[in-house]
């Protein structure tokens, strides 16, 4: 399908860092360095002349106050000319979907030919804040004119002011945490513990298979340590090859210890990682000799009341994207659904089923998804686009869908087409 300007936008290539559980193999790596690594390795893999890139767009949810615009630091890699503008977007867990679709728009409008999009998150490197009172005191002290008044200001500090504030993964509007929302969706949609565990197990098994047969490994640009003796990280470290339903059943629910069903096993872990995707106008890609993996056919975003079922947004976003694509659910040959929680995936699928759509698990998350692979918020969208586009090429599938639920009751859906 063509868009308003007639420019079709190609997904040329994508890659990512290994996804590692927060606090493990990548814990000393800054988010900006993960993002730069993914971007740089994508250049290496595509042999793209960096001077051809018109813009860099990255997604990030929890930005470091020291690097507020991580995309610009990517575009300031010395491989690039310094004149490539760049911005960072935050659409929560759909941030790198947003980066990709924003890139699509710029190219479609003819504002750009080649855009490097991507996303990054380091949950090992989240900003820890000072209390409001402590920051007030520090600001006042920095403005104090005499030593005496500075000491007097500092004297106001009380022990409780020194307790650091760490950001919680909770909705500012409702105070409900992600896990609580997942718990609520499991209950309201009557999704059993066993169903959730089964889905999680499936995610691990398929991801393990995708790693073993090299399909997932092919997307990964290994992280080479900066210090002698440290280990090379060349695979995702959250995928469990050895787990079973019995083992998963032993885990205790985290968010509702009495009646709950959501466990660490059937949720996605806090993760560090980055992804990058190269998008080009179709004719530009062909002129440069690139064979596109797929094209962006359509996309849509939607939002629901966060106080309802926080992660049920996809059942609004997906129909719009399909409609914009001019295709139907049954036309889809592959589906990549972000897995924040098994209860969320199953709730989304239940919602799709109520529309009369047939759920064919054989084409959904064929290499597992975020429960096994991990979920660095800002980077997941880039991973999904890469995985889907590569697999569409392998299977020669014409239409593929990406569906991502996000904080704030939002969702993003993207339809890719192969030819």
């Amino acid at each position: 399908m063509t868009n308003s300007t007639g420019r079709r936008v190609a997904i040329v290539a994508g890659c990512r860092t290994p996804f590692c559980k927060a606090g493990t193999d990548l814990k000393y790596v800054r988010a900006v360095d993960l993002a730069r690594h993914a971007a740089r390795e994508l250049l290496e893999r595509t042999n793209l002349n960096p001077h051809a890139v018109n813009e860099v767009i990255f997604g990030q949810v929890v930005a470091s106050p020291l690097v507020p615009n991580v995309a610009r630091e990517v575009s300031l890699l010395p491989q690039f000319p310094k004149e490539i503008p760049a911005y960072t977007v935050n659409r929560a867990c759909a941030s790198s979907n947003q980066a990709v679709t924003a890139a699509h728009d710029q190219i479609a409008f003819g504002h750009a030919d080649i855009i490097l999009a991507g996303g990054v998150e380091s949950l090992s490197d989240v900003p820890i804040l000072a209390t409001r009172r402590l920051s007030d005191i520090l600001v006042t002290a920095s403005k104090a004119k005499t030593l005496g008044s500075r000491i007097a200001t500092f004297a106001r500090i009380r022990p409780r002011d020194l307790i650091p504030v760490s950001p919680a993964i909770a909705e500012p509007s409702t105070g409900e945490s992600m896990g609580q929302s997942a718990e609520k969706m499991a209950k309201e949609n009557h999704i059993s513990r066993e169903e959730q565990d089964r889905w999680a197990l499936r995610s691990h098994q398929l991801a393990a298979q995708g790693t073993a047969d090299g399909r997932l490994t092919a997307e990964i640009a290994p992280w080479l340590p900066e210090r002698a003796g440290a280990t090379v990280v060349s695979a995702d470290n959250g995928i469990r090859t050895d787990t079973s339903l019995e083992q998963m059943a032993k885990l205790r629910p985290v968010f509702d210890r009495r009646y709950g069903t959501v466990t660490a096993g059937n949720s996605s872990p806090l993760t560090d990682g980055a992804s990058a995707v190269l998008l080009m106008a179709e004719e530009v890609a062909r002129a440069l000799g690139y064979e596109p993996l797929a094209f962006v056919r359509s996309y849509a975003v939607a939002a629901v009341d966060p106080g309802w079922q926080l992660l049920q947004g996809p059942i609004w976003a997906v129909p719009i994207a399909l409609e914009r694509a001019g295709i139907q659910w049954k036309d889809l040959g592959l589906i990549e659904m972000h897995e924040a929680f098994a209860s969320q995936v199953l709730s989304n699928l239940q919602g799709f089923a109520t529309k009369g759509w047939e759920i064919n698990e054989d084409i959904i998350n064929v290499m597992g998804s975020s429960i096994a692979i991990g979920h660095p918020f800002g980077a997941t969208g880039g991973r999904l686009v890469t995985t889907l586009a590569n697999e569409m090429k392998r299977r020669d599938v014409q239409f593929g869908l990406i569906s991502v639920c996000a904080q704030g009751g939002m969702a993003s859906a993207v339809v890719l087409e192969r030819r």
């Binding site: 730069r36 740089r40 390795e41 250049l43 290496e44 893999r45 042999n47 002349n49 890699l77 010395p78 491989q79 290994p222 080479l224 340590p225 900066e226 210090r227 002698a228 440290a230 090379v232 060349s234």
Partner: protein
Amino acid sequence: MPYFRWEAKDGVAVVTLDTPGAPVNVISRGVKEELYELLAELERDATVKAVAFFSGKPDNFIAGADIEEFVQLKSSADAEQLSRDGQALLDRVAAFTKPTVAAIHGACLGGGLEFALACRYRVATDHPKTQIGLPEIQLGILPGAGGCQRLPRLIGARAALDMILAGKSERAAKAFRLGIVDELVPPAILKDIALAAALRLAQAPFRRRSGGGFLGAVLDGNPLGRLLVFYLARRQVLAQTRGNYPAPLAALEAVRHGLSHGVKEGLKREAQLFGQLALSDVSRKLVQIFFATRELKKDLGVPGAPPPAEVSRLAVVGSGFMGAGIAGTTVVQVGIDVRLKDADLVRVAKGLVAARDIINDRLTRRRITKFEHARLIAFLSGSDHYTGFGRAELVIEAVFEELAVKQQVLRECEEVLPPSSVFASNTSTIPIARIAETSRRPQQVIGMHFFSPVARMPLLEVIATAATAPQTVSTAVGFGRRLGKTVIVVKDAPGFWVNRILGPYMNEAAYLLLSGVRPDDIDAAMVQFGFPVGPITLLDEVGIDVAQHAGEVLQAAFGERMTPPPALGALVKDGRLGRKAGKGFYTYHNGKKGDVDAAIYPLLGVQPNGGIPSAEIVQRLTYAMLNEAASAVADGVVRTARDGDIGAIYGFGFPPFRGGPLRYLDDLGADRLFAELQRLSERLGPRFAPSEAIVEHARSRARFYT
């Protein structure tokens, strides 16, 4: 006035030195004569209240005195007069009735700094191109236009001696810290600040605060402290030069004399000593090397070579010590993308860490800021695949020294490289033509033989085969030069140049070991001769297994005269590979070299007997090398004697003051060497038999240099 121009601005004469038709300013006879006239004119002009001196050259203030004039000096008396003339001119500058300001941007060296020191005030830019120093010592002379007098009076004897004796140039920030320059400013405001300073000086006299603090007062400020300073400096100079270089001692004397007898006497002594040094053999040799190096910088290695192809991206295969060294040095020196490839990621990671260490070292030594450091680090990357090779204009392989491996790497690279790219092999033992046999584009295959450690060793041998295209040669030479290396182009013959002439030298050292000479006695004799390290230490540094392998290759090519004695094998079998293994001929503790390891004697099957005097050690080692060097020249291994000497000096530290092996051979006389070799050959065996080249030179009284 061809050299100087000036204009008045707010009562300040803005003087610009701009030598016509030259890239840099030097203080030549013409400049000197014109400066006298200019000063007279400015003195007469009542509207001129002060003078500020600028350079019209980008990134260069004054590079020094005119070395061409210096080379033409015929006698010590002439040289002394040259020094006196310079002193007189700068005395005139110093005594100028109006305030003078030197506005320094770019190199301010030698005579240039002496001129600036004669000005009343100095403003310098904080730009990295602004380098300040007195490099005269490196040419075997001393600062002879008052530098030995003015600098110690400005910054104290200790700091001045540090600068003069090392001949090293410093960044402007260091010069500011030392008190050589009075203000440090960004280039954009150099002119404003220099003019403002000139006006300020015209209104009120300027008194410089004496620096140096307590230590300065104790050591520089009183005769007793100075005695200690000079004693220590002399001891250090003697330890470093072994008495082979007279200039540092002369400079020490010029400074000392001036401080104890006053400026006037000091200048006189300075000129005298300058006169003695200028015509000395050592200085002549060092100047010849200076010119040879300068010529080589313009020489692309083949007659009429096309300009080097642009290299904006380097790929390196093999992430061992050499590969990592090449990668790190490229990032630091050239600042381009480097992609490192090896068989597995653990090795790649190790190589990247080693390459990064070279960049880190620049940060530790504060040569770069942490932001520049972060930028440079981002140029390095690596993989176990050939990803990223598609945009590399040059690939250098530094994989295992085995023909089949190198050929395979070549084939794999040609699959992924752009068709115009150059493939270079960093081999020390394998003929490039053999590697190129499997190439689809043999005209783009070349050798680039680096020396270890790459970051520090200044020489690069570029090896062209018969099939190598001129553009390939110029690209390799040009890239080597961007790496900061001195490059010689040599023939694709076993050992190339450096290892070939080192072979007999190393073999002879092994013969000496087997006859019971202590390793440290051999090393000490050669260090006294002028080498930076002796041959046994060199073996430990290079790796005894590596040296053994190189020896075997030479033996295979040249037969009996290159046969290594069976000394190294026993050590290699024992795992004594040198420094890298933590044990060799010497002991190593935490990377620090210790004494000779007594465990080697039973391995060698000898007891140290101290029987051979050091003069004979020197003779046997050097003559073996000279014999082979003559033969290699006859084989056309180097294009000129100049390349041969430069290669030996930069490749393994042949004593520079002897001018290189071929110049040394000329000095010795081929006939004398012939006779000595014959004598040695009768006594020690046919390995000393004079080579055909020596026989021929002795017969025809030919010289390498005419």
